[in-house]
Point group: C2
Chain length 336, copies 2
């Protein structure tokens, strides 16, 4: 199966993106890649790498979209950019199951929305990273930034798509769906979540009610539904406090000989914890609700993360994610 990769998106493009592609090619023989970007430069950089060249195709795209550009106009005007070319190829080629980009989030989402198009019945696709939970599980946070102003019926669709995702990709039988709010009681929430609560409780899903942000990584929920603005706040607040804690720990470790020894003995542990928390290392965030599989890798993605993102597209396809989202469409449409 073919997966398209935007080689010129991301802070470490093109080198780390290309290395990630090589990793993916060498770890799974079923994967074929379409590499989109400056063709000569890509070919030159890949010369010394060892991989099965018969499973790689190049698409030339001399231009690049940066994070500073306004997404909509960049997608409309930069027709020769690696992102636009990658989106078009993903859309047009039936053999291409999906794509990966670590480029500008706004441009990737806008581009996927405009160029690949929505699944019929979905009004707004959502960006939905999978986060690690304290008990070693996973939780999907949907939406996490694609839609900053939402209406209740959008949160309803997020719940259904999140449910389909965790069933398909994580083999969960009956994912526990929580609605992010300012308290667990039914009456808690702002206007948006209160109206959404009424819609969610009528859906054929395991809706367990309102939840608090302190329980995001607690393992009590499999899918957390929220508008993209809240999701962004929750995710970044978590990142911020994790960074703050690691800084404080480092400072403490360096404060005396005793703590330095303690720190040395726990070095492996801290690395392990950092790896658990840095969910970006494992791949990217699926953009769910468009007609093909799209993974938005973090801008700071290195090879390992790009390889993880390619594997995510592979797994979503193997598990027929889009088919399963479509299967829940009658539910969505009857709910609208």
């Amino acid at each position: 199966m073919k997966i398209v990769v935007d080689i010129y998106g991301g802070d470490y493009a093109p080198d780390e993106i290309l290395k990630g592609c090589v990793l993916a090619l060498n770890s799974n023989k079923e994967i074929n890649l379409v590499l989109v970007g400056k063709q000569d430069e890509m070919a030159q950089k890949l010369k010394s790498e060892n991989y099965d060249k018969s499973r790689v195709e190049f698409v030339d795209a001399p231009d690049v979209i940066t994070c500073e550009e306004v997404p909509t106009s960049a997608i409309r005007t930069k027709k020769e950019s690696s992102l636009v070319k990658a989106l078009e190829r993903t859309k047009e080629d039936d053999e291409c199951i999906g794509m990966v980009s670590a480029g500008s989030t706004g441009a990737v989402l806008t581009g996927a929305f405009l160029k690949i198009g929505r699944i019929k019945g979905i009004s707004r696709p959502a960006l939905a990273p999978v986060l690690p939970t304290v008990d070693g599980g996973s939780v999907l946070l949907i939406d996490c930034g694609a839609n900053v102003d939402c209406k209740p019926n959008m949160l309803e669709q997020f719940a259904l798509m999140g449910n389909a995702y965790m069933k398909a990709v994580y083999n969960m039988e009956n994912p526990r769906i929580g609605l992010l709010s300012n308290g667990t009681e039914d009456a808690k929430g702002n206007q948006l979540t209160k109206e959404s609560f009424e819609l969610l409780k009528k859906l054929p899903i395991n809706f367990v009610g309102n939840m608090e942000a302190r329980d995001i990584t607690s393992g009590k929920y499999d899918v957390i539904v929220c508008d993209g603005f809240m999701g962004n706040i929750a995710l970044k607040a978590s990142e911020g406090i994790a960074t703050t804690m690691l800084t404080l720990i480092k400072r403490e470790v360096y404060s005396s000989l005793k703590t330095k020894i303690g720190g040395a003995l726990l070095k492996g542990s801290f690395k392990k914890i950092q790896a658990v928390l840095d969910y970006n290392q494992q791949g990217g965030a699926p953009f769910i609700g468009v007609e093909k599989l799209v993974i938005k890798s973090h801008g700071s993605s290195k090879a390992q993360s790009i390889c993880g993102s390619i594997m995510q597209v592979y797994n979503m396809h193997k598990n027929n994610l889009i088919g399963k989202i479509k299967d829940s469409l009658p539910e969505i449409q009857s709910a609208e």
Copy 2:
């Protein structure tokens, strides 16, 4: 100066609340306390404590408002509750500068709003905890749960009150005010923050623009303005990830002999970090914008935290917080 304390609010009421009062009385001779609750029981429990009895007054209130009750109706109907009696005394007695309660957040905020009343010109008071930053500083997060649905002019008032607070209580000359958003660029945000941005940039404050949730504790901001729903999400997401990290660290420490020794050597450090992050230990969250000083202590407050909350009321009064908020009223009114 007299400070009123609701002795029967909080998970550890009345014992820890009373102990906190004793701590405060013994640490600052200027403080007189009005203890509100079951008078005989309070007197009995305080018998064995050593403190200056001439600086303590009891107000009998046989009833208690619990967290399970609907705030508005509890405030209206439970006239003999410790919270309502405390609020009334605070309002009516000119010598009482403010009050402390660790009771139901909803009831304390609703009660202060209804019984003590707003400062003229403030449409909605806000709950504004002070959080520790990674560089050892402090940042005020306003609003953090009092108002779940906000209009731009409310965020404008939060900015002015937050500015006055950090100037008055933290002696800051020119607090850096950030607007919580999903990116730092001016054009980022949802409808509420975009409209608020336009109002904030016209105010006579040091508005530094949109900020991301990952920078809440970074030390780059002194006041963070947001609606109460977002503030709640940001704060609780931070609490959640901090808990998750501490759980992961504990698990790692117990995983082998080597890490156990490392953990033992870093035990003091972990405690210090926990203390920095547990801002509740240092006191409570001011409810800013009402006519008297109100501190909402965390429900799980113990003696040290209650003592801290009483000291906060004392400090806010010493620094003439309410006067300074009123001084910024012409700005507020001209901005409306």
